[in-house]
Structure formats: C-alpha cells, structure tokens
Symmetry: C2
Subunit: 421 residues, 2 copies
C-alpha cells in the first residue's frame, strides 16, 4: 500500500485542455485520426511527457511510447495508455482518459521522487476509433502483428486517402517496427461506454475480458434512373435490399440478446439525389458477443439473411468481412492487481466484460494486460454528451496508480525469489 495520491485537479485540467483540440460547440470532440487536430494533440502530448522527464519514441504506425526509467531498466516497461483520437461526434473521455491518467501517474511519482522497479510507459495508440480508417484498433493491431504494415498503410478513408499517406502528412511515421517496443504489461483505464456500472452504482469495473467483434461491409448494386419516369416494375433499386438488411441485422442482435449486439452504423447511398433511384448502397455491419461460439452462429445467420435478401432483390451485391476479433480473457495477475487496488481503496467494484473493442485486445497477445473501467453517465459514448465525473476520473487514475505499483512490486519480488533459489 502506498500513500501516494494522484492530483485530480491536474488530471481534470489536462482533460479539459486537450478537449479544446477539435472541441465542438456542443461540448464534444471531433479529432479524427491523423487529422490536423490529431497532429495538434500529439504535439501537446509530446511536450507534456518530455516536461515530465520521459523519453518519447514512435513506430511505423505513429504509435507513441513515452518512457520513465526504473531501477532496473533491463525489465520491459509497464505500460499505461489508450488513444487520443475520437469519433466524428466523440466525447471528452473515450480514450483520452486512459492516456492522461497514465501521464498523471507519472507526474505523481515525479512529485514524490518515487522510482519503480521496472520502467513505466505511457502509450498513445493510433486510430483506435476506426471511423476514418476501418477497422478500429488499427495502430495497436499493426504493432501486435495482427495486420501487416502494408495492410495498415493501405487502408483508405472515404476520400480515398491512405493511412500511410495521412500518417506521413502529419509527420508521425517512425522507424520502430511492429513489436519493436518491449512491453512488460499493460493497464488501460477507460470509460465503460455502457450503462452497467452507473445502473449498479459501482465505482470501478474490473475488466476480465472483451467480447468478440466482427465487422462486415455489404454492398448492393442496382441501376440509377429517374424517379419520375421509371415505372416501379422496371427498377433496380439498391436501397430496398439495404433496408431489409438493416432490419435483419437488428433481428440477429435481438435474437441473441441480452449479451449480443448487432448494428448497421454507416450507410452510403449513391448518387444520393432526391429524384434518382439509388444505384448503389454500402453498409457496415458490427456484431459482438462475449462468446466466440455465439458470434459464429450470428455470423452464419447474417450470411444466410444476406443471401436470402440478395436473391429476392433483383440487384447484385456482396458481403465482405472487414474485421474479426476473437473474445479475449485478460491476464489473471493484472486483473488481481486491479482487484487488490480497489479493495485497498475501499471502492465498490464489479467484474465486467467489455462490450467495446479496445487496444488492450491486441496488446494482450504480446504481454499480460487488463483494463480498468469507470462509469459513463447514461452509458453514453461516441456522443458529445459522454460524461464521467471529476471524482470518477480521479478514482480511476488512483486505481491505475495502485494497480501498476502493486504489479511492479509483486513482479520484482517474484524475480528476487527466482534469484535466491
């Protein structure tokens, strides 16, 4: 047990200061990955970690690694962090809390002049959101070798700009290769982005894993023609099967509720003109479940629903998998470090499976990893109204500090025991 206390005001001030970078009038943030706003928040982060005496490096995908040395710098650093990019209509806490809480932990240790056994690291993962470049968690996925460098760099936004060109343009392409930065463990503090903690009045979510996720792109291709002079019987309207698929996806989610979710979030109609029959429609599909077996069943239902809708539509089309992330179980020692921290602090906590994907999903392939959740008011996220209180943010950062120090201590003890054997 330590008597170190993070400074909630300093954390909150950093949250509100960075919230102005890409800040929107409705109190949200629009800071799309690799945009000019992303470049500005990266510059802010660089200045802040260097002011905290850390050494910053970055890799091929623009992932940023800020390191504070420990007593034993042969040990791989214990990482804290998340992402600084946001949704087109994002809030002030999704991702940024995990990065800035890591920074606050470092600042607190600096104030106390306390040195950890292993080095500590604060990370900003590139393009977690996936709204400009699909799929989500692309930077951490590239780092973990889930995607090749070419796959990552080749992803294109809606204007046809590639991830590689956008990264080059803002000047954050580094030399570190995938897995080029050793990681001893990672603790990612994040808002729940769901309604459960608030509904149950819990302070902290001890995250034991992340549900599986599958993304798809569906396209229907009919024939654009004049709405007034093309008889109903002679149409190839791509929007009709799209409407059927939207309903079918929702039905699959409902059929496997309460644990399942299924959503069409993105729709592109072309030419998208009042008096032209839609010639082409593209949709994205997002399906998730904590158990891979159920997710596989949902996948099969989607395939057959799509085939049935396409056959009945009289237009052509295709359903393409874009992303497939298996359900993840986090590291027992990391989870235990969080559990002990909440117990020592006397906080109310519950174990929870994350409904959202996070960078921790990919990093868990490389190193012991877990997450810490704090409540989201109304379960709202990816929304300007996203809200977590001052006290909740501070409690989350304190748990992060305690968990990291606890993990660092117990690992050091384990090593010493080994040596004395």
């Amino acid at each position: 047990m330590t008597n170190l206390k993070i400074r909630g005001e300093r954390l909150w001030d950093s949250l509100m200061e960075t919230a102005r970078i890409g800040g929107t009038p409705d109190g949200g943030i629009r800071r799309l990955t690799l945009s000019e706003e992303d470049a500005r928040v990266r510059a802010w982060f660089k200045e802040a970690v260097e002011a905290a005496g850390m050494t910053l490096s970055h890799d091929l995908f623009g992932n940023m690694f800020a390191i504070r040395p420990g007593k034993n710098n042969d040990l791989p650093p214990i990482a804290m962090g998340s992402h600084l990019d946001t949704q087109p209509t994002g809030g002030k806490f999704d991702g940024v809390l995990g990065v800035l809480a890591g920074l606050e932990v470092i600042r607190t240790l600096n104030d106390a002049g306390l040195e950890t056994e292993a080095p500590l690291m604060v990370v900003n993962w590139t393009n977690e959101e996936g709204s400009r470049f699909s799929p989500a968690m692309l930077g951490s996925g590239g780092f973990a070798g889930v995607y090749s460098a070419d796959q990552v760099n080749g992803r294109r936004d809606s204007e046809g700009i590639s991830f590689g060109d956008a990264l080059e343009a803002i000047g954050w392409r580094g030399d570190l290769p995938p897995k080029g930065q050793p990681i001893g463990a990672m603790f990612e503090l994040h808002i729940e982005q769901g309604p459960i903690l608030e509904a149950e009045g819990k302070d902290i979510g001890i995250v034991t894993g992340v549900q599986g996720l599958r993304w798809y792109e569906a396209v229907f291709e009919g024939r654009a023609a004049h709405t007034g002079s093309t008889p109903m019987s002679m149409r190839q309207n791509a929007l009709l099967p799209a409407a059927d698929l939207i309903r079918a996806v929702d039905a699959i989610g409902l059929a496997h509720a309460p644990d399942a979710v299924a959503t069409v979030g993105h729709v592109t109609v072309s030419p998208n003109s009042n008096n032209v029959i839609p010639g082409e429609v593209r949709l994205t599909i997002d399906m998730r479940h904590p158990r891979d077996a159920v997710l596989a069943a949902m996948d099969a239902e989607l395939q057959s629903a799509f085939a049935r809708i396409l056959a009945a539509s009289g237009v052509s089309g295709a359903l393409t998998p874009v992303s497939d992330v298996a359900a993840v179980a986090f590291d027992p020692d990391c989870i235990d470090a969080v559990r002990q921290a909440t117990a020592r602090m006397g906080l109310s906590a519950r174990e929870i499976v994350s409904g959202a994907g996070h960078d921790a999903v990919h990093i868990a392939r490389l190193a012991p990893t877990t997450m810490i959740f704090v409540p989201s008011a109304g379960g709202l996220s990816h929304n300007p109204a996203e809200s977590t209180t001052f006290d909740e943010c501070a409690a989350g950062a304190q748990v992060l500090l305690e968990a990291v120090l606890g993990y660092d201590r117990s690992r050091a003890e384990a090593l010493r025991e080994k040596e004395t054997d």
Copy 2:
C-alpha cells in the same frame, strides 16, 4: 410547310462541346447548379447566343433569356429552352438538348435569313434538377411566382450555402423581377427519361401534360451511442424506422402501379460511423401520379404509414412536405403545332404524359406551353449512360423548328383576321 433543315452535326457538336464542361470519365456530366461548372457553361451559352446575334438578359434567379427580334417586336417572344444544370451523376442530354436545340433553331433561321413574326427566345432555367438546392425547377418556379424570391434565395445546399449566395458568387444575379420577361408561348424539347418511346419504336413524344409530383423530407431522431456496449434493449436507433419507411414508400408506389411511382432517393445518416448507433437519419420521398386525386390518396397513405412507423419506433421524428406540383395539361394549340409538325415530317409519334417534372410545368401557368420528347435508350436518365442518338436529337430539333414556325404563323394569321374584322 418550310424547307428549312436544322444542321444535325452542328447541334451534336454543341452537345459534345458543352458535355466537356463538368464531364466525367464515365461519359456523364457533373454540373451542379450554380457551381463553377455551371458558371462555365453559362459563359459558353452567353458567347454562343451573342454570336448568333441575340440579346441576352437574366433575372433575379439567374434564368437566362436570349432574344432574336421578329417582324413585330410588340408580340411577346416564343420561347424554346430547358436547363443546363445536371444531376451529380447526370448524362449528356437531360436539359441541355432543349437549350441547344433552341440555339440550333436560331442558327438555322439566321443561315436562311428568315424572320419570324414574333421574336424568338432561347431560355436557360436555373436549378431545374433540384439535387443541390431542393425543390427541383426552382428557377422557373421563382420566375412564375410559384415561390417568392425569399423562398428561392433561402434554399440551402447540404453544406449550408444558400441559393442566393451561390448565385451571387458566380455573378449571375440579374435585376429582372419574377414574370419580368414576357413569354408568348414556350416549347421545351427534352429526352423522355423513360422507356416508353423506345419500347414502342416511336420517334417523337407529343407531350400532353405532366404528372403531379410531391416531395417530402422525413427525419428520425434517436440517440447516438456505442454499438458494442449499448444493449439492444436500451437503444434509440434512428436507422430502423428509416428502413421501414423506405419499404413503406416503395409499397405505396407498387399499390398504385403502373401509373404511380414512389421513391426514397436521398438518405443522410449521422454520425454515420461503423461503431456508433445512428442518432439521426434524414430521407427524401418522391411520389408522382398523372391524376391529382390518386396522388392525394398516396399522400394520405404516406402520412399514416409514417405515423405508424414513428409510433412503433420509440424515437422522435417528423414528415415535412417540400414540394407539391399539381398535374398539368399543356396548351391545345401548342400541342397541335407539335402534332402537325410530326405529321408533316412523316415521323412516328405518340401522345405521352411526362413522368418527370420540367420547367414547362411552371411556365404553363403564364403562357401557352408544351413539350416535345425524344427517346432515351433503356429509359435511362440521371445516369452517365443516358443516351439519345444523333438522328433522334436532330429529329427533335427539326420538330421544334417546325412547331415554333407553325405556331408563329397561325398566331399571326389569327391576329390579322382580328384586325380585318
């Protein structure tokens, strides 16, 4: 009967020359109203009509009037024309044929040194398409007093730019007020934009009227939230009722087929991100029928379908009428002038009701008006593949010449008879 022959090559060359202004790689045209491309085609038109010895003026809405004097310039001019703007994915003939065929008629009369009784006029109406600024036929509607000047100038495109500002920006706002240019009659040559003439092997459509048209905007407002961590039971997904409405609109069209058509052509989803539940969806609805009574019944069906869908959806929403154009019967004398022209020329023709709205609909409120149709391959329009042959364009222009001269002669005779009474 005249022996004047329009020059098909000259007309075709003008069509292909203007098709390069906003021309797209797939052979189509993207020349949105009041865009930089629109400014360029207006400059081309100004140069062409002045080279043909005509006097050009333009009104408050940017409608362009090019006049060739006649023997009796106290008579209001007989107008020919249509529009030079296109759909986002438009073809090479929709609108532009009617304007350039009018120009070809003037050039032919100039070559022959033939003077008409009444002055002749070639018109380019602003924003017929309605795809940048809804509703369609906005320029001719403003001229005819269907919309007030404030209504027209206040219409905004998807980026929030107003019609008035866009018109000012390209320098085509004139002083002529609504109805400020006298019109003795108007003949609008246009492609059918439907499959009927081609299917029946007819050269010419003698257009007796235009079907009624109603446009609406529907909006559904739910709550944007994270797709992964928001349980199905706690969602307010605006896309689900939108999907239902797309199907309901199609069903209304089918219920009144073959004469009815009903279409959702434009859909906007926000925030439109793969992992955000759609918080707001906007759709446009286009319904048409040759009989106003049936269109009124379709309107009632839409209202009740919308109310039913909204009530079942758990989100809020509204259905707003955007445009309501009654069915139109064209002028018997103008129709007869076209009928006689086709008969004299030995062309195969059939009477037809236009499925599409046209500027002629609004001008018919002010002056004797009709239209002449030529075939559209496959009935395709608002599509880069839109196609009408060299011979079909030439035949249409020749019918336009004959009809205008015939109408001019018979009206002059009628006047002389009056005087001699």
